[in-house]
Amino acid sequence: MKAHDSIVGLVVAILGGAIALYSQSLVPPRHLNYGPGFFPLLIGIGLVLVGGGLIVQGYVTGRDKPLFYRPRWLENRQLVFRFWIIPIAILFYWLAVTPLGFLATATILLAMIQIANGVRWKLAFAVALITALVVNILFASILHVPLSWGVLTPISGLFIW
């Protein structure tokens, strides 16, 4: 989704304003002239100025442009689904990895995206399971990353060397 330069400028200016305001709540320690809020205040002011510049620039150079431009792929439901499946998959991993464990979560995640991309489900699950297994062994046994086992804890001993 592409927005008009003035909208981008407005977002930047609002962010800058919020940072500048917040930085006012950071009181400097008694013995220091410049406290923890000084540098963020400068950044906030900078963002407000840059945002203002973008609003003016957008107004001067792009008056005839639409405020929001909808790319064509947004009309295709399947493509929209393929796009959103990526953040959804990360969210799924975040929520599921502790109760389900890495192996099960990674298998579901890999299969889910492949099926969304149009891969046949049998092939998708086979590729997902093999990849998840190899990655699990690699990270847990060789690199010693503390991956969660969740419901599969009883069989974890088989895969950790």
């Binding site: 989704m1 592409k2 927005a3 981008v8 400028g9 930047v12 962010l15 800058g16 940072i19 917040y22 930085s23 950071l26 400097p28 320690p29 220091l32 002239n33 410049y34 406290g35 923890p36 809020g37 000084f38 540098f39 963020p40 950044i43 906030g44 900078g46 963002l47 840059v50 945002g51 510049g53 973008l54 620039q57 792929w73 493509l79 929209v80 393929r82 796009f83 499946i85 990526i86 953040p87 998959a89 990360i90 969210l91 975040w94 995640l109 890999l110 889910m112 995206i113 492949q114 991309n117 891969v119 590729v127 997902a128 990849t131 990655v135 990270f139 690199l143 010693h144 990353v145 503390p146």
Partner: protein, 505 residues
């Protein structure tokens, strides 16, 4: 100076050599898949190398990034799909040669020029870095502040067509760097009561999100890629060795330019390749012609430049601890985690490590020749892997990469958040590189700025009192004035042109 025997002994370690060869194969594979950049190859390496000793860890990044930059030429030449942005400059030339049945010339020229550029920049790095480090030892907070500002300015100016959007990205990155404990007073800022934010935002999750996940999001609605032509790399060595001598000037120019551009903070291999390509086309008769010879000259100049820029980027990284591009930013983070603190003192305290790093540069670039030829031959196999299967696997590595560095699920959430943010930023032509460099250089900039302000009790003249610091400061301000002046002139010219066109019509 360090004894050459000590360095050779370090390099003879079979484990190190195995890591170098494996990283080379990995870098070639990633670089030759269109859409996956050298930066992504480096970011995805982090979860593996974090468990290695310092030298193999750094060797792995150096080798993989050099190979990935070259490998980007392969799909560029054969499919007109540059594997990495650094190869985009000469893709059309290389593809034209392939269509004439001369893929061996196109790819061989890229390969040999890449190796040459890499070795040349490694030589310059080895000769200049210690000398610069001696000067850097006399630097105070003022000099470091101005160097940081100069680096960030360059990053912003070269990032994209809009200066304001580059600045917005840079300031946003600096803001992200202020999250966590204040370096001077130790007070928490922008943590919103979350303990996960007290230590600041993790660099790797933000980096993986902004670059890798946003790239996956962009590729998600594209078409699946199909191989259109097979490589015909019959006699690369024979063809190219004959071409090296006539194009020596282009090669040398590209290597030197690449090293200089690479050493400027923020200007990466893609910019080096574009400048070198433009220079080969504009300034030499040979490079300006539409013949095969002209194409080879342009490919060699640009290809030498993009690999040379990698070595150049290590000059500010090792000497000042200031990353030249996002790849060296990752290298610096890994060096810190491994207890090898980049900066001038590294040359005093651990010279054997720094010279071993330089030696790895030579080794990696020489190794590029046999492995590159093998990769060109095996290219068909890599490209036949469908993106619908590869992209979920890359996403899993992104998640694991963030998790294994930070060991919290919060990092996984950051990957999703910054992935979407990176996508929205790029869609709106807000460049990502200034934000990343802002996040990396933010703490250094704030600390040196606040220290100087507190020392001088707010006297801004202190920033110009010292000879080196004052000079860098003056240069920085001059660069700003020049760029803003040029932008104003350009916009006035454009306005005049359009009003003239209006009157004419």
């Amino acid at each position: 100076m360090v004894d050459a025997g000590t360095i050779l002994a370090q390099l003879a370690d079979p484990y190190l050599l195995l890591v170098i060869v494996a990283s080379a194969a990995y870098g070639l594979a990633i670089g030759s898949i269109p859409g996956l950049t050298a930066l992504m190859a480096t970011a995805l390496l982090v979860p593996f190398i974090i468990f290695m000793a310092p030298l193999p860890a750094i060797a792995s990044i150096i080798t993989a990034s050099a190979m990935a930059i070259f490998a980007g030429d392969i799909p560029g030449a054969l499919l007109r799909m540059p594997g990495t942005p650094a190869s985009a400059a000469y893709t059309d030339d290389a593809f034209k040669l392939t269509r004439q049945g001369k893929s061996a010339t196109a790819l061989g020229a890229g390969l040999f020029a890449s190796a040459f550029g890499g070795v040349a920049s490694a030589t310059i790095l080895t000769l200049c870095a210690p000398w610069l480090a001696r000067i850097a030892l006399s630097f105070s907070s003022v000099e470091y502040f101005w160097l940081g500002v100069l680096g960030l300015s360059c990053a912003t100016f070269v990032a994209g067509p809009s200066l304001l959007k580059g600045l917005a990205s840079l300031l946003f990155g600096l803001f992200l760097a202020t999250m966590g404990l204040d370096p001077i007073s130790g007070m928490p800022r922008f943590t919103f009561g979350s303990t996960n934010l007290v230590g600041g935002l993790g660099l790797i999750p933000v980096l993986i999100g902004l670059f890798a996940v946003s790239e996956l999001l962009r590729n998600s609605y594209g078409q699946d890629r199909q191989m259109s032509e097979k490589a015909k790399p019959a006699s690369i060595v024979k063809t190219v060795v004959k071409l090296m001598w006539p194009h020596k000037i282009g090669l040398l120019r590209g290597s030197l330019l690449g090293t200089v551009v690479g050493s400027l903070p923020g200007a990466g291999s893609d910019i080096a390749a574009w400048i070198s390509y433009a220079l080969a086309k504009k300034s030499s008769k040979r490079g300006n012609s539409d013949t095969e010879e002209g194409a080879v000259e342009r490919i060699m100049s640009a290809s030498a430049a993009n690999n040379a820029s990698l070595g150049g980027a290590y000059i500010p990284a090792t000497v000042f601890g200031i990353p030249g591009d996002a790849i060296t930013a990752i290298v610096i983070s890994v060096m810190f985690i491994k207890g090898v603190n980049p900066g001038p003192t590294l040359f005093l305290n651990q010279p054997q490590v720094i010279y071993a790093i330089f030696a790895i540069f030579f080794l990696a670039n020489l190794l590029m020749l046999p492995l590159g030829i093998a990769c060109i031959r095996g290219f068909g196999l890599i490209l036949r892997l469908p993106t619908s299967i590869i992209s979920p696997v890359i996403l899993l590595f992104c998640i694991l990469g963030a998790f294994s560095v930070e060991n919290t699920l919060f990092a996984v959430g950051l990957v999703a958040l910054f992935g979407l943010l990176g996508y929205v930023m790029e869609e709106n032509e807000v460049p990502l590189a200034p934000a990343i460099l802002g996040l990396i250089l933010g703490p250094l900039l704030e600390q040196t700025f606040m220290t100087t302000m507190l020392k001088s009790q707010g006297d801004l003249l202190t920033f110009f009192n010292r000879p080196i610091g004052g000079t860098i400061g003056a240069v920085t301000i001059l660069v700003w004035a020049l760029i803003i002046g040029l932008k104003l002139f350009a916009s006035r010219d454009a306005k005049n042109d359009s009003s003239l066109a209006d009157t004419a019509s």
